[in-house]
Symmetry: C2
């Protein structure tokens, strides 16, 4: 079977600990190279993870002709810059979320990508590849829940490490960018459209200058969504979807323990059911979905228009509505 | 033991089915009379519930000298009118929530009540008398959860009966008034202050002209609250309270099956605990709390200033912020 050969730009933790091992166990992808600004570090991680080639600069990796696609887990402010360089080097691009610093950034990437119609670009919202979320969309679209009226979500963790890029506004840190992007993504996905109106309040960390808390209210006309996200809160994640006839509940909605099954709890009137999903690695599913779009020339599951739409709402939330 | 002798103004369902039986099994209260605009109906309900006296008008009940307090389960637009008449007749007043149609209504009641310093007036937010909520306040105030950053809540049911006063705007119907008042009450209670900023969107029922859905975002400065309430949604109730160090979760937060225990789920870091509360009737606890304030001359658990504060936020939410 033909495989999609990945190179990875940077030795970022999410790549090392989650996405690279997941690509390595995927069905249709391999990781052949990794780059770091420090050659030693690239070599060290390559050895640890069993990656054939390592490079001391991102540019060198992009010149590697055996690499067909890059995965970009760099800090947010570097996403679009390196995504564009990768396209220029003829590589497909799987890039961490959020795709850039703002919607202009995302639009710039789309504009550049149109010069390379044979290359695929996808934002790595991994949760959308999980069968629990695919089933959720199916249930919403089936009408089982009636008309959707409210989507509630929360995504937070506690990290006040000043060296973490999440606490650096210049690198695109803050709660909204790091985890609020999921709350917005999921609401837009459920309603299948952009919100008419947006309101939001943020609390800034006085040391870091990032939003350590953002709560938002999105009006989708026929229904609403409310959410909170935080970088300095008791950790938790949940999504609840309320319709006129039924509701869905997804705990640990976005990240979860890959060794455990995940649950989709449904209430329709007084009837309650639970669907169970076998343990699976959503980063592997994401890699295979991207490989399918590249190798079988299919549209990416998450289009750049969807990505731009998400960044536009992030911008509106950042500006308070 | 001296008991507080109640008369009930109207044969409304919440009184018949929930509050009157609860007062009857309380420790310090009895229900001695009930009034309806129809004498037959009053007599019928009095017989059903074992109430000694019945009256064919509210005025007659207020003239009953053996009655010390009235419980008012009338539709919202009649609350303040009859609360004031009850005060004028020398009765203590326990009145269903929300206290009136708006904050002006609530302020008018407070102004009138100041003419009768020996009479007690309390809004019937029954949930606040439940030990689970008292424990919640204790935990919040103890600092176990750190600083509170987000309070999420939901309260909804499905009722599209055109004859129900909840679907009549002139009687103070709609989701915000009927159940959103709890979401606002609980957020104000947790933060112990009024919100600085309010944003909200409502969806109107085209037939009834009531809000069948309202979602709101409250900014309390150091933290936020988001909520949705609906009269036409899958029924559910929940409250989640997130702090920097821990979180609390209360399912079926406001109304619940009195025969079952209720749970208070707490997470602090990776430690999860569940506190269980024995089955209890919060309407009985409310009656006894009110009796204590009357018979032992103590302040009501819910002051009229608190009630006015809640109505002010309801007004702001109704106006979109």
């Amino acid at each position: 079977m033909k495989k999609l050969r990945f190179g990875v730009l940077s030795t970022a933790k999410i790549g090392r600990e989650k996405v690279i091992p997941a690509i390595q166990i995927s069905e249709r992808c391999v990781v052949d190279a990794i780059a770091s600004r420090k050659a030693d570090r690239a070599g060290e991680v390559a050895r640890e993870l069993g990656i054939k080639r390592s490079y001391g600069s991102y540019e060198e990796l992009l010149e590697d002709e055996n690499i067909a696609a890059v995965y970009i887990p760099l800090p947010n402010h570097l996403h679009v810059k390196w995504a564009i360089k990768a396209l220029e080097a003829g590589k497909h691009v799987l890039c961490e979320k959020p795709i850039g610093m703002n919607a202009d950034d995302a639009r710039k990437l789309k504009e550049e990508s149109e010069k390379y119609p044979d290359l695929k670009v996808m934002e790595a919202f991994m949760y959308r590849h999980h069968p629990r979320w695919k089933r959720t969309i199916e249930l919403v679209q089936s009408g089982r829940l009636g008309d959707i009226k409210a989507v509630h979500s929360f995504f937070a963790f506690y990290n006040d490490d000043p060296d973490n890029y999440r606490n650096n506004p210049e690198q695109g840190g803050g709660a909204l960018m790091d985890v609020g992007c999921y709350c917005i993504s999921v609401a837009r996905m459920i309603y299948g459209r952009e919100p008419d109106e947006v309101s939001a309040y943020s609390e800034e960390d006085p040391k870091f200058g990032t939003d350590r808390l953002t709560s938002g209210l999105l009006n989708f006309g026929s229904g609403t969504s409310v959410f909170s996200c935080s970088t300095q809160s008791q950790h938790d994640q949940y999504v609840k979807i309320y319709g006129t006839k039924g509701a869905l509940k997804l705990d640990w909605s976005f990240n979860y323990d890959f060794d455990k099954e995940t649950l989709l709890q449904m209430s329709v009137g007084d009837e309650e059911t639970v669907e169970r999903f076998a343990p699976c690695n959503q980063f592997s599913l994401q890699a295979d979905s991207f490989a399918e779009s590249v190798l079988d020339d299919k549209p990416e599951l998450i289009s750049l228009d969807d990505t731009i739409g998400n960044m536009e709402v992030i911008d509106r939330v950042r500006n308070g509505g």
